[in-house]
Amino acid sequence: MLRGIQEILGTGFPIAGGSAGDDLAFTKTYQFYNDKILTDSTVGALFGGSIAIGIGAKQGWKPLGKPRTITGARSNAIATIDNQPAVSMYESYFGTDMRDLEPGGIGRLTTRYPVGIAWHLPKNYLVRTALRILDDGSLLCNAESPEGSEIHLMMATQNTIIEAAREAAQEAKEQLGAAKTLCAIVLESVGRQQLLGLKAADALHNIQEIIGMDTPLAGFYTYGEQFPLHHHAEESVCFQNQSIVVILLGEP
């Protein structure tokens, strides 16, 4: 879908967004579109004209345990890891049969402990949470993970993800350059909110410290974030979970 959007808008066009959530029930989500309430849809807004845009995306998760390899993948599902059904990686860490979990259980668990797909090593990991366990033990995610990639269980502390908010704001601010910041849209993963609890405001405070306390700020908690990735002078749109995306609109 993201590729489809990019084909129409062109690869140089930055795309950022967030996936709708349902308060961690993992059953159904809704989207507002003008006066309609939709489900299973994508609603987009195109910003144009004389504006400067800065987009920063950071996740703050750290790899844990030994590296594994994705040995089988189909579309958005990770089928096997180290030639074992993908779910067995979770079972080895948590010691329970994941198929016994209640509906939404794997979603909530992988919200706290997602997987990280190594991407431009050594430092970058794309974070993914699993929505469901398929019958063959595959983990169904929101986006594809290439076969042969190194995969890790990921973990974060409140500090690392609060710091990620600051880094994302800094990245966005740097892209704006000398432009005056008008407003900020923050798309923050619900998983971060789960992990932060009462400290959820600290992350926003970190952003405000960078963009200025008086800058208007709006946003929502997401089930996944889309953001542009700069690579080899080409801009591609990327999907990951558990991250924070800061979009700054400025006056050039």
Partner: protein, 519 residues
């Protein structure tokens, strides 16, 4: 030698040499080759052996590495376990803090609520959410048979409310919660009792807590809260939090009820006071009416008395003049008494009439400006003979700023004559009388002081009442109607002034009155 010859020579040499080599050098050479072969074989063997050792070492290192990774993974499992535990504690703590904060906020509001309606108004859906619950119901005993009724419900809509009502009337709820009178935690799990399944399903929750509300130590209601989401199952610590809330609600209801009672009794008291005031006002009106009737009666009677009195006086005068024949001295004396008593009676009737007229407002004061000195001197002239008769001295003190008053001159003269006559009457021979006039920013003050017999403290308050006469020796000797001071008071009051008296027995009496500046 040509090239051909040289080649031929070379070839023949090459043919001879091997024969020579075999014959002479061969054994030597063979030994050397064998040695070389052995060396090569040894080198090969050595190389092979060292490669095998290297492979073994690499394998060992690989194994070490794999072991390291596995250890790392074991550590990771430990970290994950600790982190899970930490997260659970953190979530629990966060929830408690949020709950306590909501509780504190609600507590402050509740203690300020002074009636039960307002009190329940403070418990809102937001507060229930902050406490960590999606749904909440407050049950209160109501009516004579003390049935539990829904006082408030949060998190339900028109569609789901009938189910809630059904749950509340269900005997299952009674079995589960209200029968126990204590806190109950119900979870809708497969192994749960049928009642629990039924109520949880009707209340649309996966788990709920029911806590009794105690009012004056008696269970008067229940607070039921629950969550639909299975990942937010209610816990023991939720129940603890809720007990605190239930206590606060109970205490607040207690307070509100007490306040309502207090307020009600206060309101009753106020109503009673108002009723009494109305009754008093009515009685007062009645008194005023009766007083008017009395005045009217006095006025009518006085008029009726005056006409025959004039005739009596006239006829007595005719008889005394001797026009109807000679009258002897004894008769003359009696006629003189008739005349004198008739005069007294006329004066009495005139005073009564004046009082009635002033009281009913029929006499209008005719204010006119007059110099204070002129007024007092005029009165002094009038009473000079009486002063002389009794040998009393009169002193007049007029303050410089008391220059001129605006009043009905003839009436104020009457006041002075009355007060001075009284002073003369009740002051023994050789005494003195003082008339003083002064002024301040609101008006004028006049004092008439004597050195007379004085008035007893019991009599002072009654002095201005009609027909009252002080109980002392002099008053028995002196004639008087008992209407003079009453008339004086009415004249002063008609001028919007005030009159009062101070007296000490055997020392003297001072009458003081004021007149306002505006006249």
């Amino acid at each position: 030698m040509s090239l051909r010859n040289r080649v031929l020579f070379g070839l023949s040499l090459a043919a001879i040499l091997p024969i020579a080599w075999i014959d002479s050098v061969a054994p030597l050479l063979l030994g050397a080759s064998l040695l070389t072969l052995a060396a090569v074989a040894w080198i090969c063997l050595f190389l092979l052996e060292s490669h095998r050792a290297q492979t073994q070492q690499t394998a060992q290192e690989l194994k070490k590495l794999r072991d390291g990774y596995d250890t790392m993974d074991e550590h990771a499992k430990l970290i994950v376990k600790t982190d899970l535990e930490l997260h659970r504690t953190q979530t629990e703590l966060d929830r408690k803090i949020t709950g306590l904060y909501a509780l504190h906020k609600l507590g402050t509001l509740l203690t300020r609520a002074l009636d039960t309606d307002k009190l329940f108004g403070h418990i809102t859906e937001d507060i229930i959410l902050d406490l960590g619950f999606e749904k909440g119901i407050i049950l209160m005993q109501d009516g004579q048979n003390q049935e539990y009724r829904c006082r408030a419900a949060f998190g339900y809509n028109d569609k789901t409310m009938p189910n809630v009502q059904a749950a509340l009337t269900s005997p299952a709820l009674h079995t589960l919660c209200t029968a126990s009178g204590t806190t109950t935690i119900v979870s809708r799990q497969e192994e749960a009792a049928a009642e629990a399944q039924q109520i949880a399903s009707l209340l649309d929750v996966s788990s709920f807590i029911s806590v009794p509300l105690l009012i004056q130590n008696a269970v008067s209601g229940y607070l039921i809260v629950g969550n639909a989401a299975k990942n937010r199952r209610v816990s023991r610590s939720d129940a603890e939090l809720l007990s605190v809330l239930a206590n606060e609600i109970g205490a607040a209801i207690d307070n509100a009820r007490l306040y309502e009672q207090l307020w009600k009794s206060h309101r009753d008291l106020e109503a009673r006071i108002q009723e009494r005031t109305r009754e008093l006002a009515k009685a007062n009106e009645e008194l005023v009416r009766m007083n008017k009737m009395k005045s009217d009666f006095v006025s009518a009677v006085s008029h009726e008395l005056r006409t025959p009195l004039t005739s009596i006086k006239g006829y007595a005068n005719i008889l005394m003049s001797g026009k109807l024949g000679d009258v002897n001295d004894a008769v003359k004396e009696r006629l003189g008494k008739i005349d004198k008593h008739s005069n007294n009676l006329t004066k009495l009737i005139n005073d009564l009439l004046d009082i009635a007229r002033i009281e009913s407002g029929r006499v209008e004061m005719m204010p006119k400006a007059i110099a204070v000195k002129d007024l007092i001197d005029g009165v002094a002239d009038l009473i000079k003979p009486q002063l002389k008769d009794k040998g009393l001295s009169l002193q007049i003190e007029i303050a410089p700023d008391a220059k001129q008053i605006t009043a009905d001159v003839s009436q104020i003269e009457r006041v002075f004559i009355n007060l001075l006559s009284n002073a003369i009457k009740y002051t023994p021979k050789g005494g003195s009388i003082l008339v003083r006039a002064s002024s301040n920013h609101t008006g004028y003050r006049f004092d008439v002081a004597d050195t007379g017999v004085g008035i007893g403290p019991d009599d002072l308050p009654k002095l201005f009442q009609e027909f009252f006469r002080a109980n002392n020796q002099t008053s028995h000797e002196q004639q008087g109607t008992g209407l003079g001071l009453s008339l004086v008071k009415r004249i002063i009051e008609a001028h919007r002034g005030k009159i009062w008296v101070e007296s000490q027995v055997n020392k003297g009496t001072t009458f003081s009155f004021t007149l306002p500046k505006s006249g």
